[in-house]
Structure formats: C-alpha cells, structure tokens
Symmetry: C2
Subunit: 143 residues, 2 copies
C-alpha cells in the first residue's frame, strides 16, 4: 500500500518509532470497511498481535489523530470511532438501525461561507461537523 510508506514517513518525521503495534493498528484501519471503535480495533488487532493492550491502542490513536493520519468521529453513541483520514473533506450518514457509517461528499459549508453567514454571526469558523441519521438502503429493503 503506497499509503503505508507515507504513514511511516509521517511517524518518523514526528519523532515516533514504527512499532509492530502501530503497524497492526494502521493495518486494521486500512481495510476501510468503516470507522471502528477502540474496542473494535482491539479485537481486530488482537487476532494479529495477541497481547496488545488497550492503553497502547488509545495512546497510538491519539498520536495518529494528532499527526492527521487518523480521523476521530464523534457519533452520538457514547464512544469514539476512528478511521484513516482521507484526503477529501466529507461528512457522514449514519444508519439508526444497523449503525453503518458511510462517507458522503456533500458539504453544506461552502454555501454558508459564500452567503457571508459567519460575518453576520461574528464567528470565525474553524471546523464543522455534519451528520445525517436515518435508515440506509439495506435496512429499508429488509423491511
């Protein structure tokens, strides 16, 4: 994976070592089948590297987020979800039935900027989140 090389470089440049644990965590996230909770990452990773500890997972996720390699999502279910940070800006649709989280490239933000909405509010926007909860097509077809 060409991404891997990139990740290794970013880690090194940040003064971080490339440990087995970091490799398997990044591998786990690389399957791209959706954001995972720390718990899920622990399960996946434990298959390849039994003995890994939760603190290692959390510490590394924090570093990877700081380096911009991983994205931390705040889905409203009481815990954090993590995924490899893509290059493209995006948002999410979340299924209320199966919990599936899917990226969408629709972003309403640019429109608001072009309409000078933030000048009106006297607010300097830095970041934004937009999530849509509902029922995905799979779950609807099951009904």
């Amino acid at each position: 994976m060409s991404d891997r090389i990139n990740v290794e470089e970013i880690l090194k440049n940040g003064g971080y070592k490339l440990t087995k644990q970091r490799k398997v965590i990044i591998e786990a996230l690389s399957d791209n089948s959706g954001p995972y909770t720390a718990n899920e990452i622990f399960s996946i990773v434990s298959d390849k590297y039994s003995g890994i500890n939760f603190s290692t997972i959390y510490r590394n996720l924090e570093i990877l987020v700081k380096l911009g390699i991983v994205e931390k999502l705040n889905i409203s279910d009481g815990c954090c979800h993590f995924k490899l940070a893509g290059s493209k800006h995006h948002h999410h649709i979340i299924c209320n039935k199966c919990g599936n989280i899917t990226e969408i490239d629709i972003c309403p933000f640019g429109d608001l900027v072009s309409k000078n909405k933030f000048e009106e509010l006297d607010f300097e926007p830095i970041e934004h989140r937009f999530e849509i909860y509902g029922i995905c097509s799979k779950c609807r077809s099951k009904e």
Copy 2:
C-alpha cells in the same frame, strides 16, 4: 413561567410525578444561559436542593429528553450537554476557546432535500446534526 405549566402537564400526561427534584432541574435549565452538562446541572441544583443525587439528575434528564422537554446535545468533548428544547429547529456554533455553545437558525438541510440529494444516496434521513466549531466574537476581541 408559562413554560412551566406546560412542562407539568406533559409530565402528568406521561404518568410522571412532579417532584421537587424535577422542579429544580427544570428551573436550572430554564435560565437559558446555555446547555449544561449533568455535572453543571448537579452543581446548580445542589444550591437549591442540597442532597440531590446524580442518579436522580440522570434519570430525570432521560425522562425529560424522552418527553421532548429537554434536548440532548452531543458536543465532541466526551460528555452530554442538556438544554430546554426550543420549538424551533436549530444548530449550534461552539467556541473552541471558551466552550460557549450558541444556537443558530441556519440550517443547510432543506437545500439538500430540495436538490434530491437523499434520493441519490438511497438514504432515508430522519435527523441531522450540524455544528460549527471556531472562535466566538468575545474570544476574538480578547486577543
């Protein structure tokens, strides 16, 4: 407060009693100076009703949310924020410096619906969240 009467009725209709604890919790939320965490509600309420317990706070917030009296916000800081539910649909701007949360009545959702974005996605939207993080005017003027 005319709202109070309304709340009392909703509680009664739901089969819930109007206890002192519920009164003070609702009073605390009624100052409208921003969503409060369970912790903050506990502090405010403790002044008026010392001896109240966290479990009472949480149990009642859950009921009040279920009845639509209170709104539960998932701001990305690891805990839940609660406020009296307003009648109007709205979103929030959140200051990264002081943590202040302010309602805005800008909503990008209608636009997306009118553009048939959800038919394209084959997704049935039910709810959505839109939050903008940045620096509020107060914090900027301090700089």
